[in-house]
């Protein structure tokens, strides 16, 4: 083990900030992080072993106990469920003779659920040893079972199991823009970086990651910070269920994204950039590395880029299964080799980010848009969209529609038109902006895609009338409880309370008081949580409760209080032990 760890440590330059990549290598080699490795790493990296344990226990893809040599995770997004995921999971479980959440006795295979893997347009999806599996069905599962029992190495598995499609159905301003490598950087230097920043400002571009902060303003703040180093970070964590447009941009438009980062570096004075790539997108890693290598060969990265005196390079850092790492300060913590716990603000990343140096964190699409604005000008962008939301928005659309995939629209487009284009029929409602966004009903389809109305990081999940609103809210609420980082009380405890309270109602144990209490917990979590996760975790319940109070009501018992558990059922063991089953050995749930 020592020699293996020495190699891994050397590759990471013995830098504690590279702990994530070190642990990824250890996990891949031993299928877990052995206690012995923790001790060795703690000494070699000069960090307390508690930090290593904290990181291992924080991220879903790290484990303290061995997983199977084939470790299978099945995506538990609502869209996977709509595509019969649950039946497939039990089929998989019996085909592989392993229970969900367990490792098979011979250690060959382990099976579990995982949060959304970013394949909602081609689910049911999963991961095997971190590599994406798409469009799972029974024949594919039979095939996988044979490959595993035959202990076929993953490299020899047929490619069709791992096929990931872009599914671009409608291209607009950005996806259609002509782009030649290097032109954005050239343009920035020939016009001068300050006038390029002014163009960006004029374009009105706002961050595409959800919050919608003006990009030029963020870059300017960062550039104005005096420091010996600045950093550029591209946020490719994309963990919001139903969102997968960044996956497509990185697969087919990576040069534009990297060029946007380089442009930002030129403006803020950064020498180092990071692409924080969610662990679920491991399948993109080698390809992106090759793109970076190519750019280095072409002098678009490295020292003295295009002879313009700019030094800049980009490193790819992989996550390990934690939605919260999309939050920018949690992402920075993760980049520094720590659990993804959002920092206190102020200070903001633009003044104190990676290693406490000024750092710009932007979404993948934001960098791509910035590169194109540098080439085509601010007006090219500003003349599309609405007053407060200029330009276009790239959407990931999935759920009940004929053509799930990627669509690009000018801001201001009515939701109805988007639904027509993707072939959505019999619409009951649409989840806009992922679980943290808004659930709109079919009465609101004339509302518009825009920061002024329905803002979104890019996710539309369509539901038709065959779907159950409560099951949707329940799936999202479980997601947030699972993904809460646990740092602050209202979110750590509150999201679990929400989950239990909603389950109680959905399972038929709820009374009117329970819905009122549910709503109160929602407000409490929303207004007291530390970061955006907690502040939006109650949205699925709040937005559905507002629109479908009757659906919640129908689920209730008439009585004013109902215990959340089966009183009589829980006495079953006692009855068995006492060899009794007479009437007196039973209790009714409430006094009649």
């Amino acid at each position: 083990m020592k020699t293996f760890l020495d190699t891994v440590l050397a590759k990471a330059n013995y830098q504690p900030v590279r702990l994530m990549s070190i642990l990824r290598d250890v996990q891949a080699e031993y299928r877990h992080i052995p206690a012995e490795a923790i001790d060795i790493l703690a000494v070699a990296l000069k960090i307390p072993r508690t930090q290593i344990i904290a990181v291992v226990e924080f991220y879903s893809f790290f484990h303290l106990t061995p997983q199977g040599r084939y470790d299978i995770l099945i995506s538990d997004s609502i869209t996977d469920r709509m595509l019969d995921k649950e039946n497939l999971l039990s089929y998989l479980s019996s085909a592989l003779k392993v229970k969900v959440g367990e490792v098979r006795a011979d250690g060959l295979v382990s099976l579990n659920n995982t949060s959304c893997t970013g394949m909602c347009d081609q689910g049911p999806a999963g991961l095997v040893n971190g590599l994406a599996l798409t469009r799972l069905d029974r024949p594919k599962i039979d095939e996988i079972a044979i490959l595993i029992e035959g202990q076929t190495p993953l490299q020899e598995w047929p490619a069709h199991l791992f096929a990931v499609n872009d599914n671009i159905h409608k291209a607009g301003l950005l996806l259609n823009a002509s782009f030649e490598k290097g032109t954005a950087i050239q343009a920035a230097f020939s016009n001068g970086t300050s006038s390029t920043l002014a163009e960006l400002d004029y374009s009105g571009l706002r961050g595409r990651g959800g919050a919608g902060f003006k990009t030029a303003m963020k870059w300017r703040f960062c550039a104005e910070e005096k420091a010996d180093a600045h950093y550029v970070v591209c946020n490719a964590d994309e963990g919001e269920p139903g969102t997968f447009k960044d996956r497509v941009l990185l697969n087919s438009y990576a040069d534009q994204v990297f060029e946007g980062m380089t442009l930002c570096a030129a403006i803020i004075g950064a020498k180092q950039g990071f692409l924080y790539l969610r662990g679920e997108y491991l399948h993109l890693y080698d390809k992106l590395q090759a793109t970076l290598a190519q750019r280095r060969d072409e002098n678009l990265l490295g020292t003295d880029i295009l002879g313009l005196g700019l030094d800049f390079d980009i490193e790819i850092c992989l996550g390990a299964g934690a939605y919260i790492c999309g939050e920018e300060s949690a992402l920075i913590e993760s980049l520094e080799g720590k659990p993804g716990i959002p920092r206190n603000r102020p200070p903001y990343p633009v003044s104190s980010g990676y290693l406490n140096k000024p750092t710009v964190v932007n979404n993948v699409e934001t960098f791509m848009a910035a590169a194109n604005i540098a080439i085509h000008g601010g007006d090219w962008f500003a003349k599309v969209g609405t007053e407060k939301s200029t330009g276009s928005k790239i959407l990931s659309i999935c759920g009940d529609c004929a053509k799930p995939g990627i669509y690009e629209y000018p801001f201001g487009t009515p939701i109805r038109q988007i639904l027509d284009d993707c072939g959505a029929e019999d619409v009951m409602g649409v989840q806009i902006g992922g679980p943290s966004g808004t659930f709109i009903s079919n009465q609101e389809l004339d509302r518009k895609l825009a920061f002024e109305d329905l803002a979104t990081g890019g996710s539309f999940i369509v539901f038709n009338h065959s779907r159950n609103v409560l099951a949707i809210a329940q799936n999202f609420t479980h997601f947030f409880a699972h993904e809460s980082c646990g740092f602050c009380t209202p979110c750590r405890v509150g999201t679990s309370l929400l989950k239990n309270q909603l389950d109680k109602i959905v399972n038929g144990h709820g009374s009117a008081g329970d819905v009122a209490e549910l709503e109160k917990i929602c407000q409490l979590v929303k207004s007291n949580s530390h970061c955006g996760l907690g502040q939006t975790a109650a949205n699925p319940i709040l937005t559905t409760l507002q629109r479908y109070p009757d659906v919640y009501e129908k689920q209730l018992k008439d009585i004013s209080y109902e215990p959340g558990f089966d009183l009589d059922g829980s006495l079953a063991i006692a009855r068995r032990m006492a060899h009794r089953d007479d009437a007196a050995a039973h209790l009714s749930q409430v006094e009649e």
């Binding site: 508690t50 993904e483 809460s484 009380t489 750590r492 007291n528």
Partner: protein
């Protein structure tokens, strides 16, 4: 640079770099808190100190005071939310106050009294947590940990060690000990360490000191936590802190 903020209608001064809670404490205004302690890096995790700053909820222990800020700390809505957050801490772990040696000296309990918390309100989680009695002098009852991170900070910032850490995600958070076995006895903690005495609840206790002061005669049996905290944490009260709050925690604080 100095300036003033308006706290609950009262104009109070602050000096550059002070947080809202520091300015409030200096002015003799108590804002409920558990994870904050003067002299330690602010943490901002318990959220008990949540106040409204210019209309937005912020943690008073981490948010910098700025000239002209309007801060509301004392209103029904905030009092209600603080009570609920405290109740969350009670149901998350297992707090059997009547059988706990810290009873009466416990800040969690003291805050609960202060917030007029009369029940736990939420259903209990009944978490399965262990007791680590391995160390000859110090006991850890994980059932009572509220993840305030004070022992972690005390060990790092005051003792120059790294005995504690907090691991896990979400509701599965747990306090971990930096030793090969994970047990306290194999760590380099010493009974005189700040970390052994800082716990605001009964999670970290010193052995063989139990019940020296009978329950009923303890700090929060007689005094509001607001009064004790202001005295100990540098408020306007002129009496020496130790006379008011003769707890191990105050006495041992370096």
């Amino acid at each position: 640079m100095t300036g003033t903020i308006n706290l609950d209608g009262q104009t109070i001064p602050f000096t550059e770099g002070q947080t809202i809670i520091e300015a409030a404490t200096a002015a003799g205004v108590y804002i409920p808190h558990l994870c904050h302690k003067p002299g330690y890096t602010p943490h901002g995790s318990c959220k008990l100190c949540t106040v409204k700053v210019n209309g937005r909820n912020c943690s008073a222990c981490t948010f910098p005071a700025a000239d002209g800020q309007t801060v509301i700390s004392n209103n029904d809505e905030l009092a209600h939310d603080r009570r609920r957050i405290t109740q969350m801490l009670f149901v998350e772990g297992n707090h059997f106050c009547p059988s706990c040696e810290k009873s009466g000296n416990c800040q969690l309990q003291g805050v609960a009294y202060h917030l007029q918390m009369y029940d736990n309100h939420f259903p209990h989680f009944f978490a399965l947590r262990e007791v680590d009695a391995s160390h000859p002098d110090i006991l850890i009852d994980h059932n009572r940990c509220i993840f305030c991170n004070l022992c972690v900070r005390a060990s790092q910032e005051k003792d120059g060690k790294n005995v504690f850490g907090i691991a896990g995600r979400g509701i599965n958070k747990r306090l971990v000990i930096n030793s090969p076995s994970g047990q306290l006895k194999d760590s380099d903690i010493a009974v005189d360490d700040c970390a052994a005495h800082i716990c605001p609840t009964g999670a970290i206790l010193i052995k063989r000191t139990g019940f020296q002061v009978p329950i009923g005669q303890r700090i929060y049996d007689h005094k509001q936590i607001s009064e004790v905290a202001l005295a100990a944490e540098g408020g306007s009260c002129s009496r020496p802190a130790a006379a008011l709050a003769p707890s191990q925690e105050v006495a041992h604080d370096k």
